[in-house]
Amino acid sequence: MAPKKSYWIVIPLLIAGLGWYGVQQWNKAPESLANTPASQVLEAQQLLNEFQNKTDQSNQLYLNRVIQISGTCLRSESQGDSVHYVYLGENGDILCQLESKQGPLPQKGDAIQCKGICTGYDDLTGGVSMNRCILTPKN
């Protein structure tokens, strides 16, 4: 009889545990990309050239993926305290919105490495944008 009685304790506990886990998963905030490996690592200008010359192929490779680019900062700017941008590429055509401010923003001419989600090539402006970016130390 003793084992049957223990079911009445274990099963509700399991259900409650699963429910709690489900709620935790549902309410989880988007994670930082700091520990997410990049699916592609390339030069900023190369990314732009590929999108401009082979948009469909580049969408397959980069769109919605975590990628890491390196290049020279053309300029950086902020909107209020929480929105920060860094522009890379010869004409600043690659726009990276930072996930958060990680120290002082890079200045014009700084060599930087940036990891983020590629949100695509915009033929309206001829630029590529990335968001949730984090600046990683240049190797």
């Binding site: 919605n64 929105v83 941008y85 402006t125």
Partner: protein, 205 residues
């Protein structure tokens, strides 16, 4: 009537270093204006703001925002183009963001929401007026690969050499082929309230 300036010697392709310099300059100017492309002489931004709220009967914070909206305005004609990268919308909940991109908006297939149209009754004097002007956007709104004719109210304000444009609109999700599973239909509204706001600067700034 005779022109005060005699252009003929400059326009005649004769030999000589001065003329060669002139033609070279002309060619360089032409190629530079071509490379500026479609945004030359226009007002634009790549850092516009958009958000939406689509909470259903059961409130679950179905809302997201983005700060990478692209917009271009032609001040001569009042033509407007707006482009929003779907995957740039940030939610408070990671799973909601994942479902939004993968199941509802399919951002891998339809990476942008687009508006292409016109400010109604546009005239050049609108670029001189101070204060908030009420305007109407008329054009085609494309979301999830489906394009619809829209007329939406908005505002426009000139300030410090920039043009601020904003609009609030309601989007019926079913109109754009976005299917909401039965399981979550009480959590997600049939209509999403969308706000878009851009600060346009002369291109090249």
């Amino acid at each position: 009537m005779k022109s005060r300036f005699n252009l003929r010697p400059l326009l005649t392709p004769s030999s000589g270093p001065g003329t060669a310099f002139f033609w070279g300059l002309l060619l360089m100017t032409a190629s530079a204006s071509t490379s500026l492309g479609q945004t030359s002489g226009k007002y634009m931004t790549r850092t516009g703001y958009a958000n939406f709220v689509a909470d259903g009967i059961i409130k679950d914070d179905v809302a997201a925002k983005t700060n990478t909206v692209t917009a271009v305005l032609d001040p001569n004609t009042g033509q407007v183009q707006v482009r929003i990268p779907i995957n740039s919308f940030v939610f408070r909940k990671a799973l909601m963001q994942e479902h939004f991109n993968e199941n509802y908006l399919q951002s891998h297939q339809f990476p942008f929401a687009n508006f292409k149209g016109q400010v109604a009754d546009w005239d050049a004097s609108m670029m001189q007026k101070s204060g908030i002007q009420k305007i109407k956007f008329i054009g085609k709104l494309e979301i999830h690969g489906i394009s619809k004719d829209v007329v939406e109210p908005g505002t426009m304000e000139l300030s410090g050499g920039q043009i601020r444009m904003a609009t609030d609109l309601m989007i019926t999700v079913a109109d754009y082929g976005i299917k909401i599973p039965t399981l979550v239909r009480d959590k997600i509204a049939k209509e999403a309230a969308v706000h878009v706001e851009v600060h346009l600067k002369p291109s090249g700034q």
